[in-house]
Amino acid sequence: MKYLDEYRDERIARALAAEIVQRTTQPWVLMEICGGQTHTIMRYGIDELLPRGIELVHGPGCPVCVTPLETVDKAIELSLRPDVILVSYGDMLRVPGSRSDLFRAKAQGADVRIAYSPTEAVKIARANPDRKVVFLAIGFETTAPANAMAAWQAKREGLSNFSMLVSHVLVPPAIRALMVSQTNRVQGFIAPGHVCTVMGCTEYESLVRDFRVPIVVGGFEPVDILEAVLMLVRQLEAGEAKLENQYVRSVSYSGNVSAQQIMTEVFEVADQKWRGIGLIPQSGMRLREEYAAFDADRVFDLGEIAVDEPAECISAQVLQGLKKPPDCPVFGMRCTPENPLGAPMVSTEGACAAYYHYRRHMVAS
């Protein structure tokens, strides 16, 4: 398959790995931001191909994992109302809220449906005028344009039974928050290629400048990851800090301008809580005032749901790259994909789930 096979080619991968070994003279801590990249690293065993000195830590770029507990609880509460159809991306359904999850709500009679695209939710709203259709609009800059498009379309059509429960997060403020944290260990970032396909690279220039940290925009296949690591190692070994683009087949410098326009039309930047991390100023997006009629938070008057979270799992440290999932005392014991204690164990992009699914034989030994 074109654009896939060449990026999974073992000879190219081995050659890149050999060059990384050759160039590495001292230990470096690198973070891949996106959960999709973490998934590839675990699935293909990329970290096993790297020299010991190169440590890959896994960033907060799993949209399912960082969606606040409150949002999950709100979605569950809404789904249980008899007049509501709750539409969601598939992997949100198993994410534990404070008391239940959407699968359990469905078993209790909630009308919960999986969609691949938010415009499906608009279609469902059109087909069910007597029901209120709520789309659980979560994700990074990758899902934001399509989610914005759904709200825009609903507004244009005057659909009064469609709304979105929004929990949108932005990558650059999260990198900034990691860099200013006193516990930070990360010396170079692989930036998320799909986010940059939408947003372009400009936002990352200031991060490179302000923190003198190398950033390479990277893709998601094994060869992409290895090439991005090599580009970071070259910079670090040479004492440089530049923004580079490894994922040139998808990412342009200015990104997808039409996608950015629809996002700006529908959303505005706002403070945002990240599950496992906490509140990061100006790190999320909410619907603009003009779209208030499509904002489930305002339409349904959900109020603030206060949630107590016991500090048993270490997802906060995992999402900041301070600890690896196997460092958690309950990893694979009391916390498994069947009974997840934290969101990173749920999503296929979550770091804990990636270790559990692909690596626990090595963890045990």
Binding site: M1, I46, L93, D101, T143
Partner: protein, 355 residues
Amino acid sequence: MSTKADVEINFELSCPAPLPAKDTVLLGHGSGGKLSAELIRDVFLRALQNPVLARLDDQAIVNVNGQRLAITTDSFVVKPLFFPGGDIGSLAVHGTVNDLAMGGATPLFLSAAFIIEEGFSMGDLRRVVNSMQQAAAAAGVQVVTGDTKVVERGKGDGVFINTTGIGLVPDGVELSADRARPGDKVLLSGFIGEHGIAILAQREGLEFETQIKSDSAALHTLVADMLGITREIRCMRDPTRGGVSSTLNEIAEQSRVGIEVEERTIPVREEVRGACELLGLDPLYVANEGKLIAIVAPEAADALLQAMRRHPLGAEAQIIGTVKKENPGLVTMRTPFGTTRIVDMLAGDQLPRIC
């Protein structure tokens, strides 16, 4: 959309409370994954415990007057009822015939029970039943008894079908998921993931264009050809819901062995690979309805592979792996990069990823 707020974040520890005890049946309990296994163990086996049931094979094999009789039952709730490559009627025959065949049995007779929703089209029902008849005739089995129930509108989903099958197991054939031994080879009869992707492509909200047809087919003649070559086959399974990974995990678990498969040997059609890439699914977890996995003695593997490839349903057969004594209960995969990863059994259904 960038920010300049360089304030230090007070990273708080947060984690959700554990979920309450499992007091409700979830869709995942029917997925063929870990939740299904738990349900069988904690509810069904606990109440109905007996040595035959405890074998947890696709069919029960019981002795009746010196004859070894294979019995199996399966319910079909597929949606849509008609899909490229088959329909619920042909599937209900193939599924049960295959469960008998995986025990090495020659399928003989089937029962068919219909649960029909009030208002269901009589024309569609005829279509389904005719398709059953054709599939049964082609497989050389007869539907010799049946039952019909009609439920109120909204209490069913068109039509559900249960089929039970019986067959005879020839002397010297001993197939069971607890018989895999270190050194054994793992054979797979052909391209994986076709049934699941054909169905998924038709589902509401997920429609996409594909030429993929379900692989729904009766496998008993392929099995007969294999048993004609050698009896050194330890076990056979058809990797239906939960896909190849669930089947291999079940065998690894029941035989207390490790199974290592070679990623590059697993046959996946380009169209299935493409659909899986697009949907964020792994073909190893996608359902098949006309494929089998056989665990065989190493010395018999090559002859069996050739025999399978001579049969139209095994033309693309491959040796995909080896049984190991290391990592009992686990299935691992050698990637093309020479690294190893686990091929896990999923908790419930495979979920489409967000991005």
